[in-house]
């Protein structure tokens, strides 16, 4: 194999791994939000949360479908979603944290939705046309998600004593998981150099400015603590992901090849 062919193979493998990661982020969070279905605070919000979950799951399908194409074998999107184990998932940890109470869910959504807004905007500038197409579709959904999570954050932060207390508790709990969102590894660095991947370090400043502005308006505080948990992109997970995957993959693994 010549040097340049080897490079092409490697970069194709890199791209596939990257696309799978993006799919992992989407499906894990989508599944988490779907846990609210039938348990929402009231009917309208229940349906709204279900819609958001479906947006994320649909996004995961697009990423996994692309990854299946790139893999060049018989793989399908289902193989990526249902036949990989915990250590093979490379989602950011913030997405796998439990759904918690409603304040916890809203806080996570605010942080992740705002992150996705900048991430997807940047991804529309990728040199990879398929990623551009996915990002263009997803960024519209995310604009709506941001609107929802912002207005809920204001409502709950600036609401009752109880809602404010719960929001601040959630922020203090989740904040340490936000740092790894802005750190890329060697794989992503290679793709950033090729103009394909998003350089997530660039997103930190605008993201933080948005979060600070919303928290301030809501009467909530950005934590001053510096603890951080990392590892999602390396496949090191919290104890929560295994349970989520068990639930999510159980039917598919019990009845392989089953069709509706």
């Amino acid at each position: 194999m010549t040097q340049s062919t080897q490079n092409t193979v490697d970069s194709k493998q890199d791209l596939m791994n990257y696309v799978v990661r993006l799919g992992d982020d989407s499906i894990v969070l989508g599944h988490r939000i779907s846990e609210w279905v039938s348990e929402g605070p009231f009917l309208e919000e229940d349906i709204a949360l279900g819609n958001v979950a479906l947006d994320y799951i649909g996004r995961a399908r697009m990423f996994y479908g692309y990854a299946a194409t790139l893999s060049g074998d018989e793989k399908t999107e289902d193989d990526f979603a249902f036949l990989r184990d915990e250590r093979e998932f490379e989602n950011y940890l913030i997405n796998e944290l439990p759904r918690g109470d409603f304040a916890y869910t809203i806080t996570r959504q605010l942080l992740v939705d705002l992150y996705n807004k900048y991430y997807l905007q940047a991804l529309t500038q990728s040199t990879d046309p398929t990623l551009v197409a996915i990002a263009q579709k997803a960024v519209k959904e995310t604009t709506y998600h941001c609107r929802r999570s912002k207005s809920w954050t204001l409502r709950l932060g600036d609401g009752t004593e109880e809602s404010k207390r719960r929001m601040q508790l959630a922020i203090d709990d989740i904040w340490g998981y936000s740092h790894e969102l802005f750190e890329s590894d060697l794989l992503e660095q290679r793709l950033i150099d090729a103009g394909i991947a998003v350089n997530c370090a660039d997103l930190k400043q605008p993201w933080l400015a948005d979060v600070e502005a919303i928290f301030q308006q809501a009467g909530l505080n950005v934590p001053e603590t510096t603890w951080a948990v990392r590892g999602g992109r390396k496949g090191y997970h919290s104890e929560h992901l295994g349970h989520l995957l068990t639930q999510m993959q159980f039917v598919y693994r019990s009845f392989p090849g089953a069709k509706w």
Binding site: F42, L43, E44, E45, I47, A48, N51, S151, R155
Partner: protein, 95 residues
Amino acid sequence: MTIEKLELFEVFVRPKRGLDHKHVGSLHAEGREQALEYARDVYTRRTEGISIWVVKSQDISASQEDDNECFFDPSDDKPYRHATYYPLPKEITTM
């Protein structure tokens, strides 16, 4: 949050350009803006519309069942208010 503290809104959706907004149902929300978002989430999930109105249900004045006799019965015997009551002149072939 309890449902009792929420307000009731009526939702109107315009299915496509050129058609009128049509009443599609109601929902609970904390205010107009949230009502609009929930209307989007609850009533346009299958691309039913291109425009949404929400109106507080309490802002709608509705006729009552008791009103029916005096409201609607009087028009029953006034067929001349319908265009079809009038015979068309022979010269007019299309209408």
